[in-house]
């Protein structure tokens, strides 16, 4: 705790919570209220993003009598702002690290009597809320460790961190691209990996730090889903015919995520037959569809269909591309599926967190169980 547990002075209170009076002094009664932007005081609750704060700290009255004794063993809480804007890592990297946003002063303090505390003001501990209450996406990257948002690693000792995913908070990993349709009768391209939504990289096994994630009603964290494989091609030499068709496979469907997994390219290089079609792009929550394989002008060969991408709620995940078939010269193999990102991942085993999901909140993907969350945050 950051105000003394024994003898306490006005200076101790001002150092922790800021000055509650306009004249540079301290009004103890003012701490029962919070300060508005225009400088006037207002009764609690204080609304910051999706958070409704009921008092300056636990045990400090918000009405009635207040004494210096009520201010002992108390600490400042502040909220890192992820509720006033929406962004994808694909477009900007400035916002992704909550520690950086804190150090840049993008916070609101409970009570609103002071500015953003610096590391040197930590004074025994602070309570930090990271309030995700807008839509955030990642960046298309085959590395599953890449996340859309992360806590930041170097928080001071005695940080009590709460990640609050509010009712409008939606955090996505990027979807994996579908594998490309093959060239000629070759092999279909492999689907790409999805990446991850939220990275916990604050060390909590030392320095008296903690991290709790609360996903509120309507809050949503989703991994980036993998792309489907591209289809293989086929080369046929039908008997008693001068037409020896080469047909290519279709592209795989993109995996669901944000940014969406794009569909794999159409097959190329068909001769005396058609190329496979491109896979379709996914949406944030719905997979892309694999493109159909090409068909020959003659004979019974077929280009392989691209596999569908993956999405929430579909067992089995993405589909591999189909191989080319029916060719008596060559049938290319279908491409493999990508791997799936995680909803929540940890930098390493020292980044322990707890996860609470309120009714109506959702966490889709690995990290649902904090003990088995995948390691590595980038």
């Amino acid at each position: 705790m950051t105000t003394p547990s024994g003898t306490i002075s006005a200076t101790d209170i001002i150092n922790e919570f800021g000055n509650s009076n306009h004249n540079g002094g301290m009004s103890l009664g003012a701490y029962r209220q919070h300060k508005l932007g225009n400088g006037s005081l207002s009764n609690y609750p204080q609304q910051i993003g999706s958070l409704s704060i009921s008092n300056l700290d636990n045990g400090i009255p918000s009405s009635g009598a207040i004494s210096f004794g009520n201010m002992r063993n108390k600490k400042l809480s502040f909220v890192v702002d992820y509720h006033s804007f929406s962004a994808d890592r694909n477009n900007s990297t400035a916002h992704i690290d909550a520690e950086v946003r804190w150090k840049q002063g993008n916070t609101t303090q409970v009570g609103n009597f002071r500015g953003t505390p610096a590391s040197g003001d930590w004074n025994g501990g602070k309570r930090v809320y990271i309030n995700y209450n807008q839509t955030f996406g990642g960046v298309t990257n085959n590395n599953q460790n890449v996340v859309a948002l992360r806590t930041g690693q170097f928080w001071p000792n005695n940080t009590e961190m709460f990640i609050e995913v509010g009712s409008n908070g939606r955090i996505f990993g990027a979807g994996g691209r579908g594998g490309h349709g093959c060239n000629g009768s070759g092999e279909g391209g492999d689907g790409q990996n999805g990446n991850s939504a939220l990275g916990i990289d604050i060390t909590t096994t030392s320095g008296n730090k903690s991290c709790a994630i609360n996903v509120r009603n309507g809050g949503y964290i989703q991994c980036g889903f993998e792309g489907g494989g591209g289809g293989g091609g086929s080369y046929d030499d039908p008997s008693k015919s001068q037409t020896d068709p080469v047909v290519s496979g279709g592209g795989g469907g993109g995996g669901a995520g944000r940014p969406v997994g794009v569909g794999g390219n159409a097959g190329t290089g068909a001769q005396k037959g058609s190329n496979g079609a491109a896979g379709t792009n996914a949406t944030n929550t719905v997979r892309g569809i694999g493109g159909g394989g090409g068909n020959p002008d003659e004979g019974g060969s077929e280009g392989g269909d691209g596999g569908n991408g993956a999405q929430p709620g579909v067992s089995g995940g993405a589909e591999a591309g189909d191989p080319g078939s029916g060719g008596n010269k060559q049938n290319g193999a279908g491409g493999q599926i990508g791997a799936r990102g995680a909803a929540i991942r940890k930098r390493d085993a020292s980044c322990v967190y707890t996860l609470n999901i309120d009714s109506g909140g959702q966490v889709i993907g690995d990290g649902f169980n904090p003990n088995t969350a995948p390691l590595g945050v980038n």
Binding site: T280, T283, V286, R287, I289, G292, D305, N308, Q311, G313
Partner: protein, 120 residues
């Protein structure tokens, strides 16, 4: 085979539709099949409804084929017999299978003699 499609959602901001496909005589409701996304620029929207629907169906057809191949047959229908010979008395009461594509693409031709001529 008749195939059906249901447009679940039109995402105007990204110009995509979310659709579900299945066979008209599928064993479960189309709502129970997983959805997929299609970019509107892949569709034929210039002409008429038939062209539009067919352009959607063309994209969904491979998915429908996979649905069919992934359906689990009834246990009673999956006890496939293998019998040598053509004595019909051996076939009575047993179940046999063949790929329907064989009925369309190929015809078995009975031949008594094949002449192989290197000069062709």
């Amino acid at each position: 085979m008749k195939i059906i499609v249901k447009i679940i959602e039109y995402l105007e901001d990204t110009q995509q539709i979310v659709v579900k496909f299945c066979r008209k005589n599928a064993p479960k409701s189309i709502d129970e099949y997983p959805a997929g996304a299609i970019d509107v620029n892949r569709l034929e929207t210039v002409y008429d409804s038939q062209c539009l629907v067919e352009s959607i169906m063309k994209i969904g057809y491979p998915t429908i084929q996979k649905q069919e191949s992934n359906e689990t047959p009834l246990t009673e229908n999956d006890d496939i017999a293998t019998i040598e010979g053509t004595d019909l008395r051996d076939y009575v009461g047993k179940i046999f299978e063949s790929d329907s594509r064989m009925m369309v693409d190929r015809v078995t031709r009975k031949m008594k003699k094949i002449i192989i001529d290197d000069d062709i």
